[in-house]
Point group: C2
Chain length 243, copies 2
DNA sequence: CGAGCCGTTGAGGGGATTCAAGCTCAGTGG
DNA sequence: CCACTGAGCTTGAATCCCCTCAACGGCTCG
């Protein structure tokens, strides 16, 4: 884990005032705040990078910081009572991780990097204090909770039902929305796909192979592929049709 | 729909000060507020009763009020792109319905009564104004969002995967937690069960029939049954075991 | 009493799982 | 350089579970 505490940097370091000039500021948690509110914040914020499969937040632990995701994709997962892993949700650029810690609730799920990720670590007290002074921040937090809830509902409706083919297609549609349009799309491992969709590794593999043969996916490399959006939409429409 | 506007009642009506003496006050949204904060609230709150299958909130519409559920069970549902109905979540006594309206977001799902329900209708502006004066109310709202999110995650982990038998058992376990312990448990229609669990009517029916034969369910009436908690737990443990 | 809804049960087919075997590819050490 | 290794991916064959289609019975209501 590569930690860069901003407050240890010289004041004239271009990154020292990172929170003010942050490229993600408008979409991140503090986007609703004025410059003056951010004055002292950046001293407590730590930029970090993590590799694939590294654990950002652990279920059961009471962490003392939340994270803003600057780059990459993370997954929320837990073990079912039958012992299988279930991936419940993905989060992408701009999302806030570990929000429940602000309510002093224990984490229910592990949060794990799907790709290499860059995050900003924000101590819980910093958010709470800012929230007391700035109701707009509380409003923003509510928006984020609602967004997470809608995401979870959409996940349930799209990825948890229907044929294996439909689920995989829906997953691809969601995954393309993470990276830049046109850029290669991150593909999970087959096992991860299975745990997202409630399918086995083999079924996921068969579906992906078929989509490659059909031209929906091309240039599959180690963990990325380019998706033909038109073909994807066509395939989705066909699956959704009663035929 | 049976509407009883409280402010039309004489001041000495025992129900007129319903919000203060409400039996659910401690668990409901306004439970965090002091008596003085509730002074003028009850004038804007309307008690309502609705029958089974009636629509409380409609997806797409921008409603102007939220509802506190006093009695009964409601479901959140939507249509998938393939045209099938999917039930995403249940809410019970004390839950707040239509929370997203407080953020001026459109509703994504229909909210429909599963049983006869009693609700308190609270206009959105009332909540927003109170929230400005009382940060504790905002805190309570965040708690409720987090609770809904955890519920949604649990639904996904428990009810969206595994064998049909496991899903039905998990659903029964959840349903028993709504009514009073020992009291008969509300059972959805087979079609509703199917739409909750991603199964067909017939499969749901077969599973329920089997559980009745096994003694997990007894005295099935029109829409209620008594559940043997021990047998249910035993069955769940057996399903979750690798054997 | 017939109509319609809901639940149940049966028979047959299909799609996902299971079990098993090869494959590719990156990393390792000879 | 290349065999060796192990993790991840693919593919095949057999099995099983759930879906589909169908028929029937109970119940409520017009």
């Amino acid at each position: 884990m590569n930690v860069i505490p901003l407050h240890r940097r010289p004041a004239n370091d271009p990154q020292a005032r990172a929170c003010l000039s942050c490229s993600m500021r408008s979409t991140a948690l503090f986007g609703v705040l004025e410059d003056s509110d951010l004055e002292d914040v950046h001293q407590h914020v730590t930029q970090m990078q993590m590799d694939t499969d590294q654990l950002l937040l652990e279920a059961g632990r009471d962490g003392e910081a939340v994270y803003t995701l600057r780059e990459g994709i993370v997954r929320f997962e837990r073990a079912t009572t039958s012992g299988e892993r279930r991936i419940l949700r993905l989060a992408g650029c701009g999302d806030l991780l570990g929000q429940e810690l602000l309510l002093k609730r224990p984490l229910m799920d592990d949060v794990i990097a799907c790709t290499p990720v860059a995050v900003c670590r924000i101590p819980v007290p910093v958010v709470l204090q800012l929230g007391q002074r700035q109701p707009a921040l509380l409003h923003e937090l509510m928006q984020r909770w609602q967004h997470a809830l809608e995401d979870s509902h959409a996940w349930l409706a799209d990825l948890a039902g229907g044929s294996a083919r439909r689920r995989v297609l829906k997953l691809l549609a969601k995954l393309t929305s993470y990276g830049a349009p046109g850029a290669p799309t991150w593909l999970p491992r087959r096992e991860e796909m299975g745990d997202m969709l409630g399918l086995t590794v083999e079924t996921a593999s068969r579906q992906i192979s078929r989509l490659r043969r059909e031209g929906v996916l091309c240039s599959l490399t180690r963990r990325y592929a380019t998706v033909d959006p038109a073909a994807l939409q066509r395939a989705l429409a066909e699956v959704d049709r009663p035929g």
